[in-house]
Symmetry: C2
């Protein structure tokens, strides 16, 4: 059984079909509600499908919603249809579940061989495959950034500090490394200091990578003056951006400060900034820069 | 001041100049003494320049030796010349020092601007630059593997367990990733399980990377049955192999077992196996494979 190819003809047009509520599959963190509020401001209703153990019950309660568990595709399908949804956005944090931990309902069981194959590969392989499943069920998959572009990092700096030439040099090396690792579906973050790659993010996530560097500096294993080094976050080149964009927020800024970094560089327009005002305030308070750098056309090193 | 180019004409011929003692600059671990013993077996004398705080005093005492601190290039030069050495091998573990922690003698101080620049970049940038310094001082730099080829991982398996087709598939992905990261002078190790890259080694080193995966599995953050996943170690493509080859040993096997891996794959002939018999015994006891895979010509994925 070959996996259905993603049809390039299904080109999502943000803002179309505005009468129906937008279904928001919500993971953890604050971004789902920033997206929901942004959509509501455009006059479109939302319907939250909150993922059990991940979405914040108090926040979810402020919107029309229902709860679903991971693996309950049939229940999800029924709830979204009953709510009259046709467009779908997946947003928020979620740790990759174990295949054996999925709470399978009947619809999911019928798709099992396919889902099993999705688990053989990196996160983007899994997420883009789940996105295709939703589309085959008749939903139109939109990216959070398409319905709420205001959540994306703008070009330029977020607070009052700016990167030095050395920081920009380190950032360029980091962005090129993320690009080179693209085909391998690894992480979306690296740390570079003084042209040396100190850390590469994979399954541990950005926060754990920053904590690791804080420990390495503390122990003297990485012997480098504080205030040197840049966290770089950017999507993988081939990544299904509608399912997953890299995200930073105030906690990322605080962790970067603990790791002794000079600041954070993200790809402008391709990385979500959760609670941008709080992130800028944290950066100003801790003396870090947060900068969005646009992709240059043909910026191969 | 441009950095002198490495002269391609200086092609080290192992075994030449056999009358003079071979100078061994010794870092930590057991490999320096395996190399020293192998050289002695060929009938050539050795002279150990043991790096203070890194080399093992009890082991060093078994050979003609002197102690040096990192940064004492002048003292090193004098001692090696007094011992009549002309050929030089650097071997053993060493954590990258902080530039500010170097104990500089006068010879080193004169080279300071150059040494400072070596610290701006990855480990290979630093080590290959130090290698060039030794060559300009009139030594011939040889690789540990050139004077003691028996320390290298052979083609095939080390113990009695063999990789499964899935393991070989994961290993191929890992080897290709190390290759792709080559220009960025990152680490020499990655962990791949089920075609998913779980960890990439940078400044933390292989043991810390394995410990991280053990923690991620323990906490459920990486939800994967035990016995799946491969540690891959291979040199960076452009790496100065005479200064630094990736190394595994019994402790690596034990850490890989704690991380729930199926085994270890290294590039045959390009990775050092410390205490090969003990490593094979540990692999057999813990149910892991340790396999050397030769590089295929033109093996681009």
């Amino acid at each position: 059984m070959a996996m259905a190819e993603y049809s390039a003809e299904v080109s999502p047009v943000p803002g179309a079909d505005r009468g129906s509520p937008l279904a928001l599959i919500c993971g953890g963190g604050s971004v789902p509600y920033a997206v929901a509020d942004a959509v509501l401001r455009t006059g479109r209703p939302v319907f939250l499908l909150a993922i059990r153990h991940w979405a914040d019950p108090a926040a979810v309660a402020r919107y029309p919603h229902a709860w679903v568990a991971i693996g309950q595709l049939g229940r999800f399908l029924r709830l979204a249809r009953e709510a009259g949804c046709r467009d779908l956005v997946c947003v928020g944090t979620l740790t990759r579940p174990a295949f054996r931990d999925l709470r399978l309902d009947w619809t999911t069981v019928r798709m099992l061989p396919r889902i099993y194959r999705l688990f053989r590969g990196g996160d983007d392989h899994l997420l883009s495959g789940v996105g295709r499943l939703f589309e085959e069920m008749g939903f139109r998959l939109l990216g959070a950034h398409e319905v709420a572009p205001e959540i994306l990092a703008p070009s330029g700096t977020l607070g009052r500090f700016v990167p030095s030439p050395r920081d920009l040099d380190d950032a360029a090396l980091g962005l090129a490394l993320v690009e080179a690792m693209g085909p391998f579906d690894v992480g979306q973050g690296v740390i570079v200091a003084n042209r040396r790659v100190l850390a590469v993010e994979a399954a541990e996530g950005t926060d754990a990578m920053l904590m690791r560097l804080a420990d390495l500096r503390q122990s003297g294993r990485v012997a480098l003056e504080p205030g040197i080094g840049v966290l770089v976050k950017a999507p993988k080149p081939q990544q299904e951006r509608r399912m997953d964009l890299p995200t930073i927020g105030p906690a990322t800024v605080e962790a970067a400060a603990r790791a002794g970094l000079a600041g954070i560089v993200v790809r402008a327009g391709e990385v979500i900034v959760a609670e941008a005002e709080a992130a800028a305030a944290a950066a100003d308070r801790l003396g870090l820069f947060v900068a969005g750098i646009p992709e240059e056309p043909d910026a191969n090193r």
